[in-house]
């Protein structure tokens, strides 16, 4: 049986913990707002870009002129760009991504396809450090400040890999931000590119292209990869903060609950002590009669 002092000490400790988790919750909330704003600012660009590429790609019948659109005849090696957070304490956010990645790798390996990974995020890097998976590169600190430059660097590396035959297909696995309480790992094929198909009504327009249709599309396709990577980074960063906020909120609630039960035990123990003392006094007085 814990003594009164032990229980008191524990209550104080739990209270301190809840202060910390509460502070972390508020920090995450503030960062979430910032990240969400950044994502929303980027959104129109991504949207327009999709439209753009859809329009250009719609007129293409023969994809073989564009190496980035052409699927390889035989897929032997696959590259996975895995985006995770740099930090933990955000519930199952990173674990979900890593489990999805592990599943992806296992499935490909079962088909005899070789997989190598490019990590974007410290948690991914640490996870694959001691696992029998080939890691090509590891990037960290991308989500602190999501930048076009980073997406471009990673993207051009991937394109080069695809074009030189280092990888026959390239996938990206990131956390899709559905809403504040729900984020879902989602897998998208980056290369070869599958452009979104056009709505029927817009096909009627005959565009004039400058310099030429082919030159324009060739120029645009790599940028499309960068845009997709950038969007994934934004989504993951927003998701990370949302997940951390939820996790910290939970932790704070659990702390409160724990303090409540501990206080109850404390009061019970105190009362039991008083009762016992009273019994002793009464018993002593009785014996004196």
């Amino acid at each position: 049986m814990a003594t009164l002092r032990d229980i008191k000490r524990k209550i104080d400790a739990v209270k301190k913990t809840s202060q910390i988790t509460k502070a972390m919750n508020m920090v995450a909330a503030a960062k979430l707002r910032g990240a969400q704003q950044n994502m929303e600012k980027f959104h129109p660009y991504a949207l327009k870009f999709r439209e753009f590429i859809g329009r250009l790609a719609a007129g293409v019948e023969d994809t073989s002129a564009y190496s980035l659109l052409t699927p390889k005849e035989e897929v032997k090696t696959v590259e996975l760009l895995l985006v995770t957070a740099d930090r933990g304490l955000c519930g199952s956010f990173n674990t979900n991504l890593l489990v999805a990645a592990e599943k992806f790798i296992k499935a490909r390996k079962a088909e005899g396809i070789e997989v190598s990974v490019i990590n974007a995020g410290r948690k991914a890097r640490d996870y694959f450090r001691r696992r029998p998976v080939k890691v090509r590169e590891s990037h960290t600190g991308l989500l602190n400040k999501v930048a076009y430059e980073d997406a471009r660097r990673i993207g051009s590396g991937l394109i080069e890999l695809f074009e030189t035959g280092g990888a026959d297909e390239v996938y990206i696995l990131y956390s899709h931000f559905i809403n504040i309480v729900k984020q879902q790992p989602s897998l998208v094929r980056l290369l070869p590119i599958t452009p979104s198909t056009q709505e029927e009504g817009e096909k009627g327009f005959e565009y004039v292209f400058e310099p030429s249709h082919q030159a324009l599309l060739t120029d645009l396709l790599p940028n499309y990869i960068y845009v997709q990577i950038l969007e994934s980074l934004y989504q993951t960063s927003v998701g990370e903060h949302a997940a951390r906020m939820a996790a910290m909120e939970n932790a704070t609630n659990n702390c409160k609950e724990l303090v409540r039960t501990l206080t109850l035990t404390y009061n019970k123990a105190r009362q039991a002590g008083i009762t016992k003392e009273l019994m002793d006094i009464v018993g002593g007085a009785e014996a004196l009669k």
Partner: protein
């Protein structure tokens, strides 16, 4: 003239501009082009340079750091890598960038380095030119 053009400039960082204007002149890869209401559908690559548009009788300037343009149904959409309206340009920073780029061109050892430095110089010059117009 009753008809107007809707001009929209977006970059990865933000939506820079979204206005109803009379005419747009943009720096195309193969030369400047102007867009008036009723323009045919047009897709084009942009180079680093100056975009002008006329609104309520006044001419405005925007520095565009390369990208793409689309004209469709009296709507001009510019997808730029970066873009700044004249008032937003940081002249001090642009001057510093110009000097840095000039130095890098002088010191460049291979053609890639040279090309990068030259692109940086172009961006700085475009910004400065437009800042002066203001």
């Amino acid at each position: 003239m009753a008809e107007k053009i809707f001009l929209e400039i977006v970059t990865p960082e933000k939506k820079v501009l979204s206005e109803t204007v009379d005419i747009v002149v943009a720096p195309g890869e193969m030369g400047e082009f102007g867009v008036l209401p009723g323009h045919i559908p047009f897709l084009c690559k942009l180079r680093v340079g100056e975009l002008r548009y006329r609104q309520d009788g006044g001419l405005r300037h925007v520095a565009v750091m390369g990208g793409y343009a689309e004209v469709l149904n009296n709507q001009v959409t510019i997808l730029a890598t970066a873009a700044e309206a004249a008032v937003d340009i940081d002249v001090v920073r642009a001057r510093a960038a110009r000097e840095r780029a000039e130095r890098r061109i002088a010191e460049s050892r291979d053609k890639y380095e040279f090309a990068r430095a030259q692109a940086a110089l172009q961006r700085a010059l475009a910004r400065l030119k437009i800042a002066e117009r203001q």
